[in-house]
């Protein structure tokens, strides 16, 4: 049914339709509206016997999910930013144990400096923790991906993160076509766990494993993600047949077939990228876009195929690998063995800085002329950075960077004392 509602509400409603048995979360902006919505659904009795557990930390939230999933319950949590980092140890544990937990990550920056706004630093920091990572472009897809995520997770016995841009999507009101309970029930059979804590058939889960078997267990985790490269498009195709709309998958090209320049991005920024591509296409520029929908597993072959005919690739990243630059671009580069094209990494939108069509157009025009630096920070205020570097070079107690820069910006009420 088409409804005008907040992204978080769409996700909460959809997760509810997936009949979770245990939901456990710790509040953190901008994830809160999602779990508040689920709390309401549980309290209103709309989710049957589903348990909603409020905990004292994200570490506990995921730990409760681990216990619940190992007991055979369909289990859901959501977090963002610092919360995802606070879960880090349990993230590896959940995937290592092969527990099909589904989690929404309402993508948000990581401090210091503390910042509540959107970028992808949180999910990118956990790219190697063994979870499948899917990125939603809009709220319709965010909702749809949760139905697919439970299916994928339980099929492969692996945990899945659905990443949706914090505030940009979670707090945006859009038209979303929510599925009916019957549709979701038909698509998503009841959870049949591969392993379960059951007094009738006692098993030991989480034993000590030494060098004689550790590599094999880790290889299996990789092998299952490789299986996910097949399962993700299969589930997306099944979803499209059942619900009548495309969503998910590994990658999605936009006007990319004959493009000489291809811009790669993840999540909601694709909308702005595609608008800019349209503008440039009107001027006769052969430019297109490629959305990476599944970052883990990383679809090397699909990315390679999409870039095979291009002359250059611009990877627009909402995260920064400090000390080298791009994270997504390093992955894209692995897809390019033997393909000679110019590659540009653009760090954009950190801490919620708007990525505007104007900035993108100027950026792409530079790229087309191959005038871009290999690593570019979009809309960076060079003057302020230089001033701070100079202050530091002057020696002595130059003070904290963030506060110095804020003071010079003259915003947020920071004052010199």
């Amino acid at each position: 049914m088409l409804r005008q509602l907040e992204g978080s509400a769409a996700v909460a409603e959809t997760v509810g339709l997936c009949r979770p048995e245990v939901v456990c979360a710790y509040p953190i902006s901008p994830q809160t509206h999602i779990v508040e919505g689920l709390s309401d659904l549980v309290r209103a009795g709309r989710l049957g016997s589903c348990e909603y557990v409020t905990v004292e930390s994200e570490f506990a939230a995921l730990s409760v999910c681990i216990g619940a999933s190992a007991t055979g319950a369909r289990t859901y949590t959501a977090t963002a930013s610092q919360g995802l980092l606070y879960m880090a140890e349990a993230l590896y544990n959940a995937s290592g144990l092969g527990l099909p937990i589904v989690m929404t990550v309402a993508n948000r920056a990581i401090g210091a400096p503390i910042n509540i706004w959107n970028d992808h630093s949180d999910a990118m920091s956990q790219r190697d923790c063994g979870w499948i990572q899917l990125y939603a472009e809009d709220n319709q897809e965010a909702a749809d991906l949760h139905v697919q995520a439970f299916s994928l997770a339980e099929r492969l016995s692996l945990p899945v993160m659905v990443c949706m841009d914090g505030f940009v999507l979670t707090h945006a009101y859009e038209r979303v076509d929510l599925p009916t309970a019957e549709q979701v029930d038909a698509f998503l059979p009841p959870f049949e766990p591969r392993q379960v804590l059951d007094p009738a058939d006692p098993v030991t889960i989480g034993a000590m494993v030494g060098p004689e078997a550790f590599a094999e267990v880790k290889y299996l985790a990789h092998a299952k993600q490789m299986q996910a490269l097949d399962a993700i498009p299969e589930v997306a195709a099944e979803f499209e047949r059942a619900f009548g709309r495309p969503s998910g998958g590994l990658v999605r090209g936009y006007r990319a077939e004959d493009a000489e320049t291809i811009v790669i991005g993840l999540g909601s920024v694709l909308g702005t990228i595609e608008d800019t591509v349209d503008e440039l296409r009107e001027d006769g520029v052969k430019i297109g876009a490629l959305a990476i929908k599944s970052f883990r597993p990383f679809p090397l072959e699909e990315v390679r195929a999409a870039l095979a005919g291009a002359k250059r690739v611009v990877v627009l990243e909402k995260a920064l690998a400090v000390g080298i630059g791009g994270i997504v671009s390093a992955n894209v580069r692995m897809a390019l063995s033997g393909i000679a094209l110019h590659g540009y990494t653009v760090i954009a939108g950190l801490g919620g800085r708007p990525i505007t069509r104007r900035s993108l157009r100027a950026l792409f025009e530079q790229a087309i002329e191959d005038r871009l630096e290999p690593l570019t920070f979009l809309d960076l205020d060079r003057e302020r950075v230089e001033a701070e570097l100079e202050r530091m070079a002057s020696g002595g107690r130059s003070g904290p960077h963030a506060e110095n820069i804020l003071r010079e910006s003259g915003i947020v009420g920071a004052r010199s004392h």
Partner: protein, 337 residues
Amino acid sequence: MADSNGQRVRFYQVGSFAAGNRLLDPEQRTVQARMDRSNTLTSGHRACQGCGEALGARYALDAAMRATDGKLIAANATGCLEVFSTPFPESSWQLPWIHSLFGNAPAVASGVAAALRAKGREDVRVIGQGGDGGTVDIGFGCLSGMFERGDDVLYVCYDNEAYMNTGVQRSGATPPAARTANTKPIGREHPGNQFGQGKDLPRIAMAHGIPYVATATVADLHDLERKVEAAMELHGPRYIHVFVPCPLGWGAAAADTIKLARLVVESGLFPVFEAAGGEVVGVSKIRHQVPVEDYLKPQRRYAHLFGDPPRTDVIERLQAIADANIARYGLLDGETA
């Protein structure tokens, strides 16, 4: 139990407790004396000789299995108990058992309980367990959360007073003056672990107002079994803190595990009591009070107190702690809590 003259007769467990068992009615005998005991933590594991934790865990879990008719799931923190019991492909656990991380066993247990509630399987009960490090330090947040939410979990802490699995470093449960790998008695001003409040987790648990808190030791295993059974009669968060000597970490003889667990009680250093809803409702009285020296001397972790000259000043402070416990809990006959 009364004799033929109607006089109250007391039976005390001794080292082997076999005599005590024979004198009891069959129904009152220890779970371990029964042919149908579950051997939840079965033989063949890799615990050290004289391990108090292995003993405590076996009695606690078998009692819980008996109380729940075998419908029990355990969540275990990282630590000695986890490591010595599951060097896969071997596992000593004969119940469904999960180990996730060092600091999250209470939360994992909460998750198991939540799943069982959601599935309408409340006949299956949940036990969480860990050592003192996993309980009073790194798992403390999760434990407090589990208590506060009222989750239906019995959590058992096997307290051997330091991080034994990593090589005997101090924990929040290490007693004052004890030598550990990072509280070595170096110089007169550092006589082992610092004096201070430490973390008295049974009392912290009581402050949560949970239905049941108890302490026990491996010197009185029948008492431990009874407390586990009492705990399984109740629902909601329950906490049992079991004193388990560690021969390796304490520098004690493997044969002295039971003796040390008895002496710590008789000295007053470890009060054995039960509490309901945050109030103490029963204490195990001291039968033959001993000075703290009797407990300290057999342990090399306190050897620096008995040099030449001995650290009588430190020993006096330890005796003062025992005396305060005796007064607080009314541990001597004629005293009330």
